[in-house]
């Protein structure tokens, strides 16, 4: 079937895959990638599928085991409907019932949202990736199979849909073709939030059917709650890593910096993404240098979960989300800190400060602040000495959706960048209207099967085009060092993968990293060269 003619009511059809992604239809990239040809997304033969359903578009990032018999299929469909009813009930979903009802009821199906969606655009306008396609499918199922008399009025109300196993499995897959960036919601004249609806679908599958991506659940929240971190790092391993980090700081800067651990009554508890301790230790090291040289009373926690700000529950499951964020609250309360500062991690900001605002109750309601505000105070009020000429190279910044569009933290990082980077320039658009990096909602950590190819070529395409467009042709020459600032762990991981996929370190001389590394790179109390241009990792 020609994918651009796909209709919502085709969703239950037998075709496998239902959507054919034609890489030659993807939008062209700007200079110097006009002739870039994306490799086809690897087909998953039966052996690799291992009985799993990838019938939407042949891409796998969520494990859906196909039922073996027709009876099992019917049971799964029935279970899905039970879950759908729970999703619409106060006792099971009071957490998001009001926004859910409002977004379900209010859509006038004008399709304004599709123009805002980078995935729809970057796929070459595949119908299935329209924000409305997914939410309309959900609405049709609810209207026909959950609302009283729905089957009688289905044709008149446009809710004519066949509910079978294919429909259910593809709805689950569709919920993982959205990064929950909420850009579509900004443009909706009604205020409908298709990102929220995608998240609610994910919740239904996780909380009722136990279906979720392995990276988010088994290797994500479950591992974090059991070992202390989604990386599997336990408190003992953490202490070893902190020793390594102190030695690394000494090697890089010559400074004897102590990484503060479990300091009761500290002014600040820094909750940092533990994935960075392994992938980008320089980010934590830069925080330690900055805070110590600024004379701040701060600490990390070595308590279970307290040293990892990650909370993948935010992307797929309210119960897992709440369990993780409550551990964070417990740690802050136990240490008796004055405030919690969330490190450079977008979803952790949203989990701890925004959604957590309704979970950290009573005595656990310790004040929480973005590290952007903390760092702005240190730089703008000159609590550390800087020499901007050390950052004399082109710099642009990415806006993590979770703390810009969803929390309105936009200017502090810009005021810092304008002060410390003489060649700072914006992407277009930016701030609250930015484009997602393409790794949002957990995509950045999903590295299995053929999904990485999809997330580079499609969900990350718009961001890569934005990055290229932020620099002049001359600046895009490989010999010109330039820096993409990504003050968020997941975004940083995605941007690393984008740069690697497009070979943009070699071809264009891109380096990426956080904001705090740029600050330390220009601090006069630190020897020059904190940012290592030869160390792309």
């Amino acid at each position: 079937m020609s994918s651009d003619k796909l209709r919502v009511k085709d969703i239950g059809r037998k075709a496998d895959p239902l959507v054919n992604i034609d890489m030659t239809n993807l939008p062209k990239l700007p200079y110097p990638y006009e002739d870039w040809v994306d490799p086809d997304i690897e087909e998953l033969p039966d052996k690799k599928r291992n009985g799993r359903n990838v019938s939407l578009d042949g891409v796998m990032n969520i494990i859906i085991d196909n039922p073996k018999t027709d009876q099992e299929k019917e049971e799964m469909v029935a279970k899905f409907l039970v879950g759908l009813r729970k999703l619409l009930s106060k006792e099971n979903n009071w957490t998001f019932l009001k926004p859910l009802m409002l977004s379900l009821d209010n859509c006038v199906k004008c399709n304004t949202c599709q123009e805002a969606c980078p995935i729809f655009e970057s796929s070459g306008n595949l119908s299935a990736y329209r924000p409305l396609f997914r939410s309309d499918l959900l609405r049709r199922i609810i209207n026909k199979y959950v609302k009283p008399g729905g089957k009688l009025t289905a044709k008149f109300t446009g809710s004519d849909i066949d509910l079978n196993w294919n429909t259910v499995a593809r709805l689950a897959q569709l919920s993982y073709r959205c990064t929950l960036c909420r850009r579509c919601a900004q443009t909706c004249p009604m205020g409908v939030d298709n990102g929220l609806l995608a998240r609610e679908i994910r919740k239904l599958f996780s909380q009722e059917l136990g279906i979720s991506p392995q990276e988010l659940h088994a290797d994500g929240t479950v591992k974090q709650l059991e070992t202390g971190s989604s990386t599997g790092m336990n408190p003992e391993a953490l202490m070893d890593l902190m020793e390594f980090a102190e030695e690394d700081i000494k090697d890089r800067t010559g400074l004897d910096i102590k990484i503060q651990m479990d300091k009761p009554g500290a002014d600040i508890l820094l909750i940092h993404n533990a994935g960075e301790f392994l992938s980008w230790p320089e980010n934590l090291e830069a925080f330690a240098i900055l805070f110590e040289l600024a004379g701040i009373s701060w600490t990390l926690s070595s308590d279970m979960v307290g040293y990892d700000s990650v909370n993948y529950g935010l992307f797929y499951d309210d119960t897992q989300y709440a369990r993780v964020t409550l551990k964070h609250a417990e740690v802050a309360k136990k240490l008796g800190v004055k405030k919690v500062v969330v490190g450079e991690c977008g979803h952790a900001h949203k989990a701890i400060m925004a959604i957590g605002d309704r979970i950290w109750l009573g005595e656990s309601n310790i004040p929480r602040e973005s590290c952007m505000a903390t760092m702005e105070d240190l730089i703008l009020n000159e609590k550390v000495m800087i020499d901007p000429s050390r950052n004399e190279f082109p710099v642009t910044t990415h806006d993590p959706c979770n703390f810009t569009r969803s929390m309105g933290i936009i200017e502090p990082q810009r005021r810092i960048l304008r002060k410390i980077c003489p060649q700072f320039r914006e992407m277009t658009p930016h701030g609250a209207h930015n484009y997602c990096c393409g790794g949002g909602s957990g995509f950045a950590i999903m590295q299995s099967h053929n999904f990485p190819n999809w997330k580079m070529a499609i969900s990350g395409r718009k961001k890569f085009a934005q990055i290229l467009n932020a620099f002049s042709k001359e600046e895009l020459a490989p010999e010109v060092n330039k820096y993409v600032c990504a003050p968020c762990s997941n975004c940083k991981g995605q941007i690393r993968d984008i740069i690697t996929y497009f070979d943009a370190n070699e071809r264009c001389g891109f380096l990426y990293g956080g904001l705090v590394e740029l600050i330390v790179n220009c601090m006069t109390d630190v020897k020059e060269g904190f940012i290592d241009w030869d160390d792309f990792h």
């Binding site: 209709r7 926004p99 008149f156 004040p367 602040e369 309105g408 209207h433």
Partner: protein, 304 residues
């Protein structure tokens, strides 16, 4: 009373109940997690670029300055001019704006007709030879009525054309969408023709309303006017029981969700509501959830 009057009263009663029902449904929905979306227009000095008070160092120690004027301005632009549609979907705005503005005028027209019908019951004359108030009401009724009907018909036809001809759009149209737009067009055209030809200042309609609200027998001078009244009554009801009354949900979507940046403070009403909700029993069936226990119990530990 004639059957048409009973029908009109029933339609109005249903529409009032439908609106009350919708408002109560959203008002009674439980306290939800924070889920605002920026820009939030009442963020003083920050709304323009989409910033929030969370940008401040120690934000909880500082007074939160709210710019209510900017919020009202944003609301007015959105309600009256459909700013969002203008900005993001200009093609639709060309029809949607006259359609909505026409309906606002029709609401004003109905209020004027209803109000003047009551005035007439109080022996205050309405018309060209009446007093100042009577004359103002007379002319305003005619202006709002014809302008509203024409704009509504024009806008509905434009939207109908867009839905029917835009290939990408057609897939998402339901028979009810076409019916709604045809109803609005048909009602407007019938009422325009019925009154422009025999009752240009809506005198008989005012009289009909007056007689209906006093539960006395009404006289309808022509079948066409009768059909117009029937269609108008049905439309009032239909708008409120279908998605066409999305203005109710839109209010809550903006104020309760999208622009709701109220932080939870210790001992606050928000906190009290949340504590109550934690005692709700969870029945989710996935293996990692302790089905049958309360939220407070479920979120303490993961089920092994």
């Amino acid at each position: 009373m004639m059957w048409l009057q009973v029908f009109s009263l029933a339609c109005v009663a249903v529409s009032i109940l439908a609106i009350i029902g919708k408002v109560l449904r959203y008002m009674k929905a439980p306290q939800h997690m924070r889920w605002e979306l920026y820009p939030v227009p009442h963020e003083k000095g920050r709304a323009e670029y989409g910033g929030s008070y969370l940008e401040e160092l120690d934000w909880w120690t500082k007074p939160r300055e709210s710019d209510k004027f900017n919020e009202l301005k944003e609301m007015a632009e959105e309600i009256i001019l459909l700013k969002g549609v203008f900005k993001h979907n200009r093609r639709v705005w060309g029809s949607s704006f006259p359609f909505h503005f026409g309906m606002y005028l029709l609401i004003g027209w109905l209020v004027l007709l209803f109000g003047s019908a009551i005035l007439q019951q109080l022996n205050i004359q309405i018309g060209t030879s009446a007093g100042v108030i009577g004359q103002i009401v007379h002319y305003l009724t005619a202006i709002t009525g014809y302008a509203g009907l024409v704009l509504t018909a024009f806008g509905a036809l434009g939207l109908l054309l867009w839905r029917a001809t835009d290939e990408r759009q057609r897939e998402f149209n339901a028979p009810i969408d076409y019916f709604n737009l045809l109803l609005m067009t048909g009602m407007s055209v019938v009422v325009i023709i019925a009154h422009a030809t025999t009752d240009p200042s809506f005198t008989t309609l005012r009289q009909y309303i007056g007689e209906t609200i006093t539960l006395s027998q009404a006289t309808v001078p022509s079948n066409l006017i009768g059909i117009g009244i029937g269609l108008l009554s049905f439309t009032i009801m239909w708008v409120t029981i279908t998605r066409m009354s999305h203005f109710v949900a839109k209010y809550f979507l903006y104020h309760a969700v999208r622009w709701n940046d109220e932080p939870n403070e210790r001992g606050s009403k928000i906190e009290q509501s949340l504590i109550k909700l934690l005692s709700e029993k969870v029945t989710w069936s996935a293996d990692h959830i302790q089905s049958g226990k309360t939220w407070a119990e479920v979120v303490k530990e993961m089920k092994k």
